[in-house]
């Protein structure tokens, strides 16, 4: 068993990056995720493993530093919160187009605009439907505990390199700020230059005489060429949909009703589930862990066995669109959300279930 610690979600992300063998972190401070870089600066991974930690002049600079680092096959990561992630969208689209592996962590806060520093899940659309331009997707992971904040960093790096794609960890201010116990995985050594070249034959690592230039670009002015790029990307996303879906089912076997929720909302729904079952209401919880690829078939299988579904999100109704597309129209599906940094309480969620789903009002 690995090392046991009590850590904030933000700290777990930072420590996990060091341990995963990350080569470079580039970021710019913003509440509620500033502890990621604070932890890294205090921990000095440049002494522990040789990992670079750099405070860039802006979020736009951070994401472009990621582009450069990833282009040379390095394991690179950035983190920010909603307004900062908006600033990165152009760079994310370029990285998707140039097929560059990187990990981007969004510790979401309430919007729109500068909004608030309190937690929110209102960046679901931006993360899952592509906040930048063009037909691209990212693999999107939604941790719901500090342990998953740690584990998902490792998973995100693995998948980023497996698929040559940016991967997003979509969390929120509450999970970033709260402390829970976490079992840290052991240090994985950073790759040597030879290992990077072997793992990333496409990367810009200095041209030996034995091969042509590796060109990292998202530009192809020939439409036929650009269509081929798009077809290749789409084939990759199809493969992710087939192989990378992750989800958790809690007490779904005998459920008459179902909560569907991700991240922090899923934790609140778990308590709501206990409260509802204590009142004799048989409710289950379906928690998507990957938001793209969305567990469409799996939620449909459970969703079509129940009498009604309440989708609980800290937004005005975003993931509910994917739930509706997956489950279809035979089952009643309603949304319950709070916005702008308000976290719904478990009793509020039970009440919404009783009013909107069981009682039939909406």
């Amino acid at each position: 068993m690995g090392e046991l610690r009590l850590m904030k979600g933000n700290e777990a992300v930072a420590e996990a990056a060091i341990r995963a063998g990350c080569d470079g972190y580039f970021g710019y401070p913003i509440t509620p995720q500033s502890e990621v870089m604070e932890y890294l600066m205090a921990e000095k991974p440049y002494e522990r493993t040789g990992m670079v930690v750099l405070q860039a002049e802006s979020e736009t600079a951070s994401i472009n530093m990621l582009y450069g680092g990833a282009g040379t096959g390095k394991m690179v990561m950035t983190s920010s919160s909603s307004p900062g992630i908006s600033l990165m969208q152009e760079g994310i689209s370029y990285m998707a187009g140039a097929e560059l592996p990187a990990v981007i962590v969004n510790i979401t806060r309430g919007g729109p605009g500068l909004g608030t520093i309190q937690p929110s899940q209102a960046d679901y659309f931006q993360a899952v439907k592509g906040g930048g331009h063009g037909d691209y997707k990212m693999l999107v992971l939604a941790p719901s505990s500090v342990q998953e904040m740690c584990d998902h960093v490792k998973l995100a790096f693995d998948k980023a390199f497996e698929y040559r794609t940016p991967v997003m960890i979509l969390s929120d201010g509450a999970i970033g700020q709260m402390m829970e116990k976490v079992v840290l995985f052991d240090q994985i050594p950073r790759r040597t230059d030879e290992e990077v070249i072997k793992q990333c034959p496409w990367a810009s690592t200095g041209r030996p005489k034995t091969r042509n230039h590796n060109i990292i670009t998202s530009l192809d002015l020939d439409p036929a060429g650009q269509e081929r790029v798009n077809l290749k990307l789409q084939a990759k996303y199809k493969l992710m949909e087939k192989n990378e879906v992750l989800y958790e089912e809690i007490q779904c076997e005998d459920a008459d009703y179902l909560f569907v929720a991700f991240g922090l909302s899923a934790r609140i729904c778990q308590k709501a589930l206990d409260l509802a079952r204590a009142k004799g209401i048989k409710v289950g919880l379906f928690r998507p862990i990957t938001l793209f690829p969305f567990p469409a078939i799996e939620v449909s299988n459970v969703g079509n066995r129940v009498k009604g579904i309440l989708v609980v999100e800290m937004n005005a109704g975003q993931m509910i669109e994917d739930v509706k597309l997956s489950v279809g129209c035979k089952v009643k599906i309603e949304h319950y959300g709070r916005f702008g940094g308000i976290i719904p309480s478990p009793d509020e969620v039970v009440n919404a279930l009783e009013q909107q789903i069981i009682g039939g009002k909406s």
Partner: protein, 184 residues
């Protein structure tokens, strides 16, 4: 067993670190824990609070709206959290600086003169450990040896020499506790 606790007071009183020491001690005793601070505008305005949950089972929501125990160290927190204690639950407060004392009749209420006593003894920095001692007397969720380990883990190494003093403050807190109102 699940204990849901809110600790609330002014920034600088050691509210967050008291919660962290309690939570880390729980981890050392192999409990499930969560520590959820206020980090928002209210904290910047001077008040701080933290929700600590200690359980034998996997913790579902780290955010709750009713607590088994409220530890209250200023007036704003009394106004905000007295009503959130579950019926039959526990409220511990330091009367120092309070203008309105708790009024509920359906909960157990204890006072602890921690700020006053800490001032007299020159222990202002470990005032929070006196309060923690009062809580642990009533709810011994974590054994003393694990509190010791929790202190070791929570405090930076340069402060480890102060651990015995912290432990004495915890013992002092146990003596200072006064019952104000008890539910039969």
């Amino acid at each position: 067993m699940t204990e849901e606790i809110i600790i609330a007071g002014f920034g600088g009183q050691g509210v967050l670190s008291m919660g962290k020491i309690l939570a880390y001690s729980g981890v050392m005793q192999n409990k499930e824990v969560s520590w959820m601070p206020s980090y928002g505008p209210e904290m910047r305005g001077g008040t701080a609070n933290v929700t600590v949950i200690i359980s034998d089972e996997r913790i579902s929501s780290p955010i709750v709206n009713a607590y088994d125990t409220a530890i209250i160290l200023n007036q704003q927190s009394m106004d905000k959290f007295e009503k959130t204690v579950k019926p039959g639950g526990l409220l511990i407060y330091d009367p120092n600086g309070l203008t309105r004392l708790p009024e509920r009749k359906d909960i157990n209420i204890y006072a602890i003169e921690a700020a006053d006593e800490a001032g007299k003894r020159g222990l202002a920095k470990i005032f929070n450990m006196i309060v923690l001692g009062g809580f642990l007397k009533l709810k011994p969720l974590v054994a003393p040896e694990y509190i010791h380990k929790g202190l070791e883990k929570s405090l930076p190494a340069r402060h480890h020499a102060l651990i015995p003093e912290n432990e004495k403050a915890i013992e002092l807190g146990k003596e200072l506790l006064q019952a104000i109102h008890l539910v039969n």
